[in-house]
Assembly symmetry: C2
Homo-oligomer: 183 residues x 2
Amino acid sequence: MSLRHAVLGLLADRSGSGYDLLRTFQSSLANVWPATQSQLYTELNRLADAGLVAVTAEGPRGRKEYAITDAGRTELHHWLLEVEPERQRRSESLLRVFFLDQVTPEQGRTYLEREGRAAAAAHQGMRELAERIDADPDPLAVYGRLALEWGLRFTRMQQEWAQWAAEQITERGPQPQVRPPGH
Amino acid sequence: MSLRHAVLGLLADRSGSGYDLLRTFQSSLANVWPATQSQLYTELNRLADAGLVAVTAEGPRGRKEYAITDAGRTELHHWLLEVEPERQRRSESLLRVFFLDQVTPEQGRTYLEREGRAAAAAHQGMRELAERIDADPDPLAVYGRLALEWGLRFTRMQQEWAQWAAEQITERGPQPQVRPPGH
DNA sequence: CTGTACATGTAATACGTTACATGATTCA
DNA sequence: TGAATCATGTAACGTATTACATGTACAG
């Protein structure tokens, strides 16, 4: 049920319409909590019904400006500080790794190398974003910058791991020679 | 739709009942693709309807032993090699980071330190698992060992990042001093 | 003979994705 | 005046979670 809190969190920073929120979701939040247009509008109506946000103004083209209410802020703080985060994550890429014994070592290595390249590309995109942000810092996005740093470290780790894993798969057989580096 | 392929992948290694699969999901696959008992039994019936698996034996207590079919193996290979993995992931922990400007720096630091400890604990658990596996290697789980190495690197990165991020939040104000280490 | 583990299934509910559907404003 | 953007909403479908529901076999 975190979409609810994502919306609340954005509206806590500044009021806005569903359309405004949608753009934020597609840019800064896309990598941590993707959401569709459909989901957003539905959730805003639900939040309004629950009294956690309220329509504060109506503009042209039926635009509704939403603002967080006191009850909404209370709920947001409660969630941030008292609700244990759900740390478990699904990873389709990693699920596939478990089943790589079903294909030839060559195909397995190809898969891992592709993953490595994807990670490197993602890393590069984030580096560019980080440079743009650092050159022209948005004071509202300071914590977003912490999240971006996470992304940089994550993609780097991912890339290094994929390279290492691909190397484990030798041509001598389907059994990779698992000998992790010392740590 | 990856649950389908997760089941297929497990049955490709060895045949088994829904109950057998459930235990595998709760142990080795729990960290990459969680699934519930309810989901598994439903999926097995769907897979059997689609002809990708088949009941090869019936045992005591209504036990049904499932095996992958040729069509199932074809589908598994197709998925592994030709379907682009969904790399986008949701992270509730990271979502919260975006909204840490809503609480005091102290509370923000506390949150990050807690995340760091959680990562360290997860890392420790994985280390122990890795030691057990390396001492008594299961030839069927060699690729699982690659995934475990991913987990070790991930939790370490997570822990280091959380510590770094907590340090960014000084007592002088809500703005963390973002100065990422050189890379 | 009793508790634990084995074993399977369905129903209700919630959440997410895709597609459909509509219309107003602005800018070139 | 036509295209792009702004702006909101609903319906259908698929997937995931939780709870309910039931029964068998085996070990101590």
